[in-house]
Symmetry: C2
Subunit: 199 residues, 2 copies
């Protein structure tokens, strides 16, 4: 099969490209990841990358998707373990563990730099909007499951998930744009506050 042959030789190199892209984004910023520079780093040509990915935007979107796949694997055990416990004494702690996966590791977090780029380009672009929805939806589904089991007294898990993710997105942006506007630690503390408000 042509498909088989193509894919046999493709899978690994494809990952190599995505890994290299993430690394370059992390230490040089998105703007400096050009077709030419990325190709040079991989010992190939810019035209070749476009042969596989079609456009630079597709390549970056693939990179984000691949990155997100890894984070899906990280959050799943948190959700699963919360669902298996009957009495959940550590509900808020499970939430914080989930938040730690969601939030950027620091400024320069390549995954979040890609998110900011996606947000900026998505308006007026149906394909990017759809991609954004898809990725968001996965987080939402898992977060609702976690909220339902970790904090079963919560009135509206759906709405709380939406509020939490909106706030996390805001903090993630602040963390990743840098300048100390917000830190990961502060974002986690604010998560605690939002979940256990006392006026």
């Amino acid at each position: 099969m042509t498909q088989t042959r193509a894919h046999r030789r493709l899978e690994r190199p494809r990952e190599q490209v995505l890994v290299a892209a993430l690394e370059m984004i992390a230490d040089q910023g998105l703007a400096r990841v050009t077709m030419a520079s990325l190709a040079r780093r991989l010992g190939t040509s810019g035209g070749h990358l476009l042969y596989y990915f079609g456009t630079r935007n597709h390549l970056l979107l693939e990179t984000l998707r691949w990155s997100e796949k890894g984070f899906a694997d990280q959050r799943r055990p948190i959700v699963d373990s919360a669902e298996q416990q009957r009495k959940n004494q550590q509900g808020v702690e499970a939430m914080l563990a989930f938040a730690k996966v969601y939030l950027p590791v620091g400024d320069r977090d390549p995954r979040w730099l890609l998110w900011l780029e996606l947000w900026a380009r998505a308006p007026h672009d149906p394909e990017l909007i759809a991609a954004q929805h898809g990725l968001d939806e996965e987080w939402h589904a898992d977060l609702v499951r976690l909220l339902s089991s970790a904090l079963p007294d919560l009135r509206d898990p759906q709405g709380t998930s939406t509020r939490l993710r909106a706030m996390w997105d805001g903090f993630a942006m602040a963390i990743v744009t840098g300048g100390g506007l917000a830190t990961r630690g502060q974002a986690l503390e604010h998560t605690r506050s939002l979940l256990a408000p006392q006026y």
Copy 2:
């Protein structure tokens, strides 16, 4: 004075450029606002715009600043009126009025399209980071004043302001990237929920 003469002839045309930029952003998107197309619309040349604004990024940043100035005028009466009332029965309503100024009017809101662009470009760029901080700080200061007077029982106005703005940023992004991921009305309802949580 050279300065005087230059500015006498500059003030109005400068505003015309910013208005035209906002209009073009609203109906064509940021990417299609090029030096050449913006200049053509204004009956001038691309080189001329750069003579005044230095770079495209500066022009866009000026546009955002000028846009924000208008919104500062809109939120001030809300804060002032809340501070003048002793007993604040309508505390939450004042907050929603403030949120209505903060949030985008719809997708295509040019101010928020500029914010998304700023977020995407700010990492690795000290000047943009500083600009972002400055604008954020103004919203924060007014919001803390409003929270202190509109909801005086609130334990931590500073922290609540930070959480609210983070959430609003997240919703604003979702509204402006479009596709119905979030609406202005939903964002306002979530604001109500965050301020008056009941588990």
